[in-house]
Symmetry: C2
Subunit: 110 residues, 2 copies
DNA sequence: AAAAGCTACCTTTTATTACAAGGTAGTGGG
DNA sequence: CCCACTACCTTGTAATAAAAGGTAGCTTTT
């Protein structure tokens, strides 16, 4: 009952933060702004609300995983369009591995 | 952006509470006491520590999902051996479904 | 039979997460 | 020019997990 190896600690992070993984996935496949991301997650039956998404996006920006640029809209205020940075792409790749291994872990329990 | 259907809300519960699902799985397949459960989770590469497990077990007891009986040990204090109640078995079955659907959701995101 | 040490149980404190709710501001239509 | 809508963001609250610390029974050792 002592050392915490890095794999397990990443899985711990994955347990929480599943949503973050989902958000990064969505942005990878479909760059867009907040409403787009919410729609993608909803399509996948993952319910997320604005109050959850915005803090998450801003955290990822601070961490350098995402970048954005303003784009004008034909029907309303301008939008922040998000894209993965290089670091974001790398992190996402890691998270994919972690997710797979978490699924595997759960299947070991039957 | 209004109603939260019960499926999505269960998935929200699943995101958190993944650990709870794992613990119930472990008990289903191998009734035992705290150390047994920790060992099973570790075997599946899910790291959990005592300070996380005990509150969880006690919550499940309060919720009527688990029951326990004291058993003497040859080498130390008596142990609480846990088993699923009927309600626990039913809940676990539900959680299995929710887990599968969560995995499916994640796969939809690619 | 007293001390030391282990095993087992449990609680308290702290950080993080997700959500609900509320708030600001730019844009276009009437 | 005002209203409604869209889009962004913040604040406050509840739950979760982890770290750390604490109590007590049982065995072994002396």
């Amino acid at each position: 009952m002592k050392e915490i190896d890095s794999i397990s600690s990443k899985q711990a992070q994955m347990r929480k933060g599943l949503l973050g993984y989902a958000v990064l996935c969505s942005i990878k496949n479909d760059e867009g702004y907040a409403a787009t991301i919410l729609a993608n997650l909803k399509k996948a039956d993952l319910l997320v609300v604005e109050g959850t998404l915005y803090p998450l996006l801003n955290r990822f920006l601070r961490e350098g995983l995402l970048q954005y640029e303003w784009q004008e809209s034909k029907s309303g205020p301008p939008r922040k369009y998000y894209a993965l940075t290089e670091a974001g792409t790398a992190t996402l790749k890691e998270l994919e591995g972690t997710w797979k291994s978490l699924v595997k872990s759960m299947s070991k329990l039957n």
